[in-house]
Amino acid sequence: MTSFTVNLRTRVLSALAAAICIFTASQAGAHSQALPAYGADINQTSVSGLSSGAFMTSQLYVAYSDIMVGAGIVAGGPYLCSKSWSLNPLVVNATTTCMNPLTESVGPNTRLLVSLASSLAQTGAIDPLENLQNDHIYIFSGKKDRTVTTDVVDQTYAFFTAVGVPEASIKYDKKVRAGHALITNNDDDTRCALTKAPYINDCDFEQSTVILNQIFPDLKPPAEQLSGEIMAFDQSEFLDSDFTSMSETAYAYVPPACQTEKSCPVHVVFHGCKQGAQVIGNKYYGQTGYNKMAEANDLIMLYPQVQPSNSSPLNPEGCWDFWGYSSPNNPDPDFYSKNAPQVRAVYKMIQRLAEPKPEATVTTEE
């Protein structure tokens, strides 16, 4: 390895290590329950996320497009981005090409990525790309974002149009002077143009509402307050690998109607690096507006969680895997297909939510 690569990693990892020091007390609890079955409508599933969560969004969305109706990608590059340039290791592509490349021409190699995705679909490693053509997609890049630049996010748009998603079905917003963050309409959050932990910025609109409105037409406005509580559940039962870096506990919000009579769609929300519950508590899963939209529109919100890990897997910032850390011993890691450790774990959670409600629960509620 060259000194440049070492230096690059030094920079990334030392910055990452600083985040570890701000761990709050673990939200993972001994009290978390098993994720219940609610008879959710699995064929209306959708997903959104910020940054590494946006890369993960693309991975889950493209891999399992059979069940998906749309996606929201905030400051994220195209599917398979870290495979853009063969002469670079995946982690180098992930931290340069897929974040802040030197010039547009050495950003994500979308032509190759589309070709790789087509090959994966042909082998069945991911669902057919044709599934995406009827979906609705939201893409966002802040004008002041120097972490994942607009040049990179432009290629997310290019990827989806190249695989046949009509331009009219994609809402791409790159006009807001926002830093690298998920956007809220909350004066208490970070000022819009900054890039600063916990990477939730006040830019005078609720991005979760815009994302969900793009995916599902004709939604009601967000509820004033929640009628139920956010559920902490045991995420570990869905993990079948020691290297996922996923937390013991994850979260979900299930509106009362979805717990009883209705079969509701599931929307998966992925946090970004340094944004898991172990680092910032409930700020992402509890204060970004998704749950109020869920309440008003009978949607189930699922918040899988990743936590920082300093060795095997090496994930000191607590990012979702888009370069292969979850297969530490494999030089050709799978982080993008239906069988990728994190992707399949999240899919199992969706499957659980879609299992029929237990009879006893229905009887009790009625």
């Binding site: 390895m1 060259t2 440049f4 690569t5 070492v6 230096n7 690059l8 990693r9 030094t10 920079r11 990334v12 990892l13 030392s14 910055a15 990452l16 290590a17 600083a18 020091c21 495979k83 853009s84 340039w85 063969s86 002469l87 670079n88 290791p89 995946l90 982690v91 180098v92 592509n93 931290t95 340069t96 090409t97 802040n100 490349p101 030197l102 010039t103 021409s105 050495v106 190699n109 032509r111 190759l112 070709s115 300093n310 060795s311 095997s312 090496l314 000191p316 030089p331 050709d332």
Partner: protein, 170 residues
């Protein structure tokens, strides 16, 4: 001498400054271990080799031989390289400027820290705190500059592959 007596002798600001240095040292060791964990040259080489073989298998070299003589294609290739070189210089200059800014600000910070100093121990504490801030700022500048070098190296490799890809495109 018992602990209480020691506390009376050592100024609290000096204790805090020493603690901050200790914390910084411990964190630096932890970071160094993480960096060591990240260095996987054998795996990286195998990974790159596999990726290159895969890319070459999917490349049709016949069009490349014709395009190599096309002045428009060659001009585009040269233009991309020139853009990369210009951007690389700009990033490196930004990094160098940041060192100068850090150095300039260090003196001001030290002067500010000295404003409320009333004893030699407090002077030492102020000096330790200012030095620690400066070390941290320089370290940040160094990691940023290392990152710039990594990005530049990555860009040149990407340019090489992009050129071959464009030449082989039908």
């Amino acid at each position: 001498m018992n602990a209480d007596a020691t506390n009376e002798i050592v100024d609290p600001s000096l204790s805090d400054a020493i603690k901050d240095w200790n914390d910084y040292t411990a964190e630096s060791v932890k970071n160094a271990l993480i960096v060591l964990e990240a260095i996987t040259p054998v795996k990286d080489n195998v990974q790159v080799t596999q990726q290159v073989i895969e890319a070459f298998k999917n490349t049709d070299w016949q069009p490349a031989s014709k395009k190599l003589l096309d002045p428009e294609v060659l001009a585009a290739v040269g233009r991309e390289l020139a853009e990369i070189q210009k951007a690389a210089m700009e990033r490196l200059m930004e990094g160098c400027n940041q060192y100068l800014v850090t150095t300039q600000e260090a003196g001001k910070k030290f002067a500010d820290n000295l404003k409320d100093v009333k004893s030699p121990q407090q002077f030492l504490a102020a000096w330790l705190e200012s030095s620690l801030d400066l070390v941290k700022d320089y370290q940040q500048n160094a990691t940023d500059q290392a990152s710039n070098l990594g990005t530049i190296q990555s860009a040149y490799k990407a340019w090489l592959q992009s050129t071959l890809q464009n030449l082989s495109a039908k």
